[in-house]
């Protein structure tokens, strides 16, 4: 959708996240939950090594998830990892040429 107030031109693009994104996010969440619960329960059971490994795995997975989320957020298009935004003005120019 392109809007203009005479001087500025805005382009608003709404894209639906694909189904596999939610599948991966769900799996990530499930794994995170499992690792956190394992770390927590292992502390309670006195299994220090299991608790440490699960805790580290939880933090690494969480960091990876947050990093992935932020990277996707910067990208305009899913599957486009370059993160470059198409200039709105260019879009308008393209339309005018049409």
């Amino acid at each position: 959708m392109t809007m203009t107030n005479g001087t500025d031109v805005f382009t608003i693009t709404i894209r639906k996240r694909p189904w596999w994104f939610w599948a991966v996010a769900g799996l990530w969440l499930l794994l995170e939950l499992l690792l956190l619960q394992t770390a927590w329960a292992s502390v309670d059971e006195g299994e220090i090594r299991a608790a440490t490994i699960s805790g580290i795995a939880f933090v690494v997975m969480a960091a990876a998830g947050v990093f992935g989320w932020l990277r996707r957020g910067r990208s305009q298009k899913f599957g486009d990892s370059s993160g470059q935004l198409k200039d709105a003005a260019t879009s308008v120019e393209d339309q005018e040429q049409d």
Binding site: L33, L34, Q37, A41, E45, G46, E47, I48
Partner: protein, 457 residues
């Protein structure tokens, strides 16, 4: 701009809330799918524990005979003399006593005076329970109200009877309960006398109405066709300190709990108008009854391994004429897992456990009862290590990957995977080692953990 910021904050909050809810839902779903049993109660057993018509291991053949009833101590003593010469057993016992006394003086962790006395105290109930008398009396009348309601027999369907008895057993402290049919070949030939010079007392089956205990024989009525097989978990915090006196305390406590549970259950059953014979390790082999009742499976340890508590359980049983629905044996993939794992055999300090790939009919000595397929153990080596270590060891029980606390969901998932996909057995064995399970914990830490300001470890 301010409104937009507020909207954005609300959206983030809703998003976070959604994620939390999704996590909860996924966690619950996972537990539901794999049938998580966090409490270890048998009322709702996990779905990956399948019932089968015949035991996966330990099924007896025609060669299976009633065992003598002698415990390993009475078998070891003459064998030691035979192998190492006259006086070797006595010398070994004297050396052990001297060592234990020295360890008390030194305050050796796991063998200090409080450590050793913790074990002695835990034995108290069991030591007052002799077969056929006191707590384990075969004939003690039940406690009845003045109205004598038990004069009338309680009647219900076999299924309801089984549920009633299981509920009572759980109340008294049992965690896993199953009902097996009486198999006379599992019952020992004799009850050993305390005085070893006297002849042991025969256990016989007769067509009588009530059990009897005399100086010459113990009589089990043939109408007692039901056996309540019970497993009582051992204290893992104590057991993980094996091989020390603290590890022994876990066994001792398990035995004393067993004596309490079976004696209470026997009185309960008599109160319903039926006969009951409570037994701990005495009178019959507990493992085959527990296998037939679906409490667990026979393992590489040649002991019972339960899906919920591994081999860290003490077994006991009650014979009765109270008609109940029988349970079936179970299969949770243990035998296949044992073929791959071998962790107990590697951990055993005396190398008493079998490394064979497959179970066989080949026994290792007079302590084994032939006539069934098993991974037979060398109890002589095992018992010799008991004397050397000054404890009843228990390392094999701790090392088993099934010996875990029931709090982490991932354990339930791993057990489920082993049950349904034996191809994963090797992976879980490697993970068990990598995560550091089954190692001996610091004995001194046990006292710190259980003091008011203690931390676990």
């Amino acid at each position: 701009m301010e409104d937009r910021r507020k909207q954005s904050g609300r959206r983030a909050f809703l998003k976070a809330g959604g994620f939390v809810a999704a996590s909860g839902a996924l966690g619950s779903l996972g537990a539901l799918v794999i049938g998580a049993d966090t409490g270890g109660s048998q009322r709702k057993r996990s779905r990956w524990i399948k019932t089968v018509d015949r035991p996966t291991l330990g099924e007896t053949t025609a060669d299976y005979k009633r065992f003598s009833g002698k415990d390993i101590f009475s078998i070891y003593m003459p064998l030691k003399t035979q192998r190492d010469g006259a006086g070797s057993f006595e010398a070994e016992q004297a050396s052990k006593a001297k060592r234990l006394a020295e360890w008390i003086s030194e305050g050796k962790p796991g063998f200090s005076l409080p450590d050793q006395q913790l074990s002695v105290g835990a034995w108290t109930v069991m030591h007052s329970a002799r077969p056929g008398t006191g707590l384990l009396s075969w004939t003690r009348p039940p406690v009845r109200t003045p109205a004598e309601p038990a004069a009338q027999r309680y009647k219900a369907s076999p299924e309801d009877m089984a549920n009633t008895v299981k509920a009572a057993a759980r109340l008294y402290g049992a965690r896993l309960v199953g009902i097996a049919p009486m198999n006379e070949s599992y019952v020992n030939q004799q009850v050993p006398r305390e005085d070893e010079k006297q002849k042991d007392i025969d256990i016989v089956f007769e067509d009588v109405d009530v059990p009897a205990v005399t100086d010459t024989k113990f009589v089990i009525p043939r109408k007692m066709k039901w056996v309540v097989a019970i497993a009582i978990p051992m204290d893992l915090e104590l057991l993980s300190r094996a091989p020390t006196a603290l590890g022994d305390a876990a066994s001792a406590l398990g035995y004393s709990h067993s004596a309490f549970v079976v004696s209470s259950l026997a009185v309960f059953i008599r109160g319903l108008g039926y006969e009951a014979i409570p037994c701990v390790n005495d009178t019959a082999q507990s493992i085959p009854f527990a296998v037939d009742a679906g409490v667990g499976e026979l393992s590489r340890l040649n002991k019972l391994v339960t899906p919920e508590f591994g081999p860290a359980v003490r077994l006991c049983k009650v014979f009765t004429d109270l008609p109940m629905a029988y349970d079936k044996p179970i299969n949770f993939g243990l035998v296949e897992f044992c073929k791959t794992c071998k962790k107990c055999a590697e951990a055993c300090p005396s190398r008493a456990l079998s490394f064979d790939g497959e179970p066989s009919f080949q026994t290792k000595g007079p302590w084994n009862n032939p006539g069934h397929k098993a991974w037979y153990e060398d109890s002589y080596k095992c018992f010799q290590y008991w004397q050397k270590s000054g404890s009843a060891c228990g390392v094999c029980l701790v090392s088993c990957p099934y010996t875990k606390g029931n709090q982490a969901w991932i354990h339930e998932g791993a057990k489920a995977a082993v049950s349904v996909a034996p191809a994963t057995d090797g992976v879980f064995r490697i993970m068990d080692n990598a995560l550091g399970y089954g190692k001996q914990r610091d004995p001194e830490q046990w006292w710190k953990n259980n003091s008011s300001s203690g931390r676990r470890g």
